[in-house]
């Protein structure tokens, strides 16, 4: 078995998982078999992805690349992004014992993975690391940044959930909304989770993205901060979430306002992660 096959299968795993969670929304959370299947399929897909990533690492080792880590280009980073989303989602599902979040989160894992596998622009070949990437900071910086990105993606999914449910409640006039909106957690709970997930992502992103990134830049490029577009956009994203946490904590913003800030933050995150590499030029051109 090659890693490429495993990672390709993962795409279908995430797709099945996304569809199952949407089915849970439609048919309700009462069906235990459906719920269990969704969780098991998600775990299976995550396991496939884990094996795929590890096998790819091993293959690189076999090819004699020397120091390598499977986060060195856009393809590998998207696979890892999807992996982080799936893992963080499973943890949330376990913590909150609620499967309705899945329909708003797992599609992102699927999209990221499908984007990685099927976008013709990526080179999926296993290639050795450029000199600039041969550093132990690669693993720490990438893993921590992507846990942050995944948290921001999940906060975005939940913000969408919040806004849809809030609109449904306004339109229907029912306190919990109609049809499947009623099965979603209460607005207060979603709001609380959005805040917590953002805070969690903020910590990882600050430490992994900005601090580890700066330390690494200092040893590779000779300066810890050079206003490179990737750095600047990370800072912009950081400002958006820092402002979100402050308005929440000191001014008591909740609900729709926070949900919209989570949306804005994620737009900035996507630009930091993806937009910078394709629309702007800079030093950080690997992924």
């Amino acid at each position: 078995m090659e890693s490429a096959q495993l990672l390709n299968l993962t795409t279908f795993g995430y797709m099945a998982s996304s569809m199952l969670y949407v089915a849970i929304l439609i048919f309700g959370t009462k069906n235990r078999t459906l719920g269990l299947t969704a969780t098991l399929v998600t775990m299976g897909a995550l396991l496939l992805s884990t094996m795929g990533i590890l096998l790819r690492w091993y293959e690189a080792f076999q090819l004699g690349f020397g120091y390598y880590a499977p986060f060195s280009n856009m393809y590998e980073s998207l696979v890892f992004f999807a992996w982080c989303i799936a893992l963080t989602y499973l943890v949330l599902e376990y913590l909150y014992k609620n499967q309705t979040l899945g329909a708003f989160v797992m599609p992102f894992a699927f999209l990221a993975q499908a984007f990685a596998e099927y976008w013709p622009q990526w080179n999926q070949d296993l290639r050795p690391l450029l000199p600039a990437l041969q550093s132990n900071w690669l693993i720490a910086h990438v893993i921590a940044s992507f846990v942050g990105y995944a948290a921001f993606a999940i906060a975005f999914g939940m913000a969408v959930m919040y806004l849809l449910k809030a609109r449904n409640i306004e339109k229907s006039g029912r306190p919990e909304g109609t049809s499947f909106f009623a099965a979603l957690p209460g607005l207060k709970v979603i709001d609380e989770v959005i805040y917590k997930v953002i805070f969690f992502g903020f910590v990882w992103f600050t430490v992994g993205g900005l601090i580890f990134g700066a330390i690494w830049a200092n040893s590779a490029w000779g300066t810890y901060w050079s206003w490179d577009p990737k750095e600047t956009w990370s800072l912009i994203t950081w400002f958006v979430y820092a402002a979100t946490l402050h308005v929440r904590y000191t001014r008591g913003w909740t609900g729709k306002k926070i949900a919209w800030l989570a949306v804005l933050g994620f737009v900035s995150t996507v630009f930091t992660y993806y937009g910078v590499n394709f629309l702007l030029s800079g030093l950080h051109s690997y992924g």
Partner: protein, 448 residues
């Protein structure tokens, strides 16, 4: 303080200002990622036209992160952080040091979490016992006798109230480090060919030479390739001759592996193939040899041996690396000149009617090193550490408080009122609180 001063103070201490400055910093930062920074004026004129270029120059957009208005925003941001911290820290400190025993039964009744129970003992014995049960779970209770009973108080993570301020101070520390580095450090670079020695570097921007007080000799610049042709390593092999060191120091610099010497850090940053090749020719019979630096398409005569040679042609890859040389070689004999192809760093034998020669050729490179002196880096890293710690405290540690009020009932036993609250993670603390109350009710020690 006068009322006006007070208003200025309030303004700089406000979260509103912080939000405005953060939003402005975020929004304006975008400009510099879209418009390339630090290019020559011609570049902007070509890309954006003369009018826009003039506007860019007036607003300092071509180097916007160092422009007066961006620096002003950063200064306001710092002032805001400083004044907001001075303004609020005493309050947070008061929360940490608060005498929580100085409270009233009415206030306790209003606490978010409450549980009531009976203890089968008189008040002093009950206080003793409850303190012991709580202490088992790490809740060290302070005690105060009141006129109608006893009040116990225990808390955990009180100092977590300071976490957010630690993050604020860490940002200021990072700024201080950056400023310190900008004032007392410099960024420079040096570009020199293999085989040469330098005693100075050139400051970035001004090109002012900065003496090193030691000498840097580049023996060799090497590009190491993976089997598939991708670059694995750029490396400069150096010899440092420092009057303060007993002997020359052989070392090398690679990407991600800078060299530190005397407060300076040297980074491998670029290279360029030189336009001259290094050739060594040796007459294998007489043993005489000659070194020469030879530009392409130029004949070199070696009078002693009456030999003439040159590089007729080269085949280079897109990075300027020559992978094949075409050499022309003639001597005094009547025979036709030899023309042959050879690769870099290869030795070939040239057979001539009277003699045979060893011919070696090597492409020469110049290496580009970046040089940084930044005494502020340690301060910046201290700021990073503070930020990690502050975020950890803010995110992971909750300030949890428990009060126990013990009053005698009419049968000589004790009524117990347990109250509590936490500043975040309320759901988790609710759960913990009910477990705790349950254990007290059953007279069990609190678990850690």
């Amino acid at each position: 303080m006068t009322k006006e001063q007070n208003q200025v103070w309030r303004f700089f201490a406000s979260v509103k200002l912080a939000l405005w400055v953060i939003s402005l910093l975020a929004a304006t930062s975008i400009v510099g990622t879209i418009i390339p920074q630090g290019k020559q004026p011609q570049f902007y004129i070509q890309e954006y036209g003369a009018d826009l270029t003039r506007l860019f120059q007036v607003l300092g957009i071509t180097e916007m992160y160092g422009s007066w208005w961006f620096i002003t925003l950063l200064i306001i941001f710092s002032a805001n952080l400083i004044i907001c911290s001075i303004d609020r820290l005493p309050n947070a400190w008061r929360m940490v040091r608060l005498d929580n025993l100085d409270t009233t039964p009415e206030r306790l009744q209003k606490m978010p979490l409450k549980a009531e129970m009976k203890v089968a003992a008189d008040v002093p014995a009950a206080a003793e016992k409850i303190s012991r049960l709580l202490a088992a779970g790490g809740w060290k209770a302070a005690r105060r006798d009141q006129k109608d009973g006893v009040l116990l108080f225990a808390q955990k993570g009180a100092w977590s109230r300071l976490g957010a301020y630690m993050v604020h101070i860490s940002i200021l520390t990072i700024f201080a480090g950056a400023l310190f580095g900008a004032v007392f450090g410099f960024k420079a670079s040096i570009f020199f060919p293999e085989g040469e020695t330098v005693g100075h570097v050139f400051e970035r921007g001004t090109a002012r030479p900065i003496p090193l007080n030691f000498e840097l000799h580049v023996e060799n610049f090497e590009i190491v390739y993976y089997p598939n042709g991708m670059v694995r390593e750029y490396r400069s092999d150096l010899i440092i001759t420092d009057p303060e060191m007993p002997e020359p120091w052989r070392t090398s610099i690679r990407v991600n592996h800078p060299l530190k010497h005397r407060g300076l850090t040297f980074y491998q940053s670029s290279y360029e193939p030189m336009s001259e090749f290094m050739i060594n020719v040796r007459n294998n019979e007489t043993g005489r040899e000659r070194y020469a630096l030879v530009p392409p398409s130029r004949q070199v005569s070696w009078g002693e041996e009456d030999v003439t040679f040159g590089v007729m042609n080269t085949m280079t890859d897109r990075m300027g690396r020559v992978h094949e040389f075409q050499i022309w070689f003639a001597d005094s004999s009547e025979a036709e000149p030899s023309v042959f192809n050879m690769q870099d760093k290869q030795t070939v034998t040239v057979q001539r009617p009277d003699n045979n020669y060893s011919f070696y050729i090597q492409q020469r490179y110049a290496t580009g090193l970046q040089v940084a002196k930044d005494p502020g880096v340690l301060i910046v890293y201290l700021g990073f550490a503070l930020m990690c710690l502050g975020l950890y405290i803010t995110f992971m540690i909750t300030h949890r408080r428990l009060w126990v009020r013990l009053t005698p009932d009419d049968r000589g036993q004790t009524r117990l009122l347990l109250c509590g609250g936490s500043n975040r993670n309320k759901a988790a603390f609710d759960q913990r609180f009910s477990e705790l109350a349950e254990r007290l009710r059953q007279n069990q020690a609190i678990k850690q």
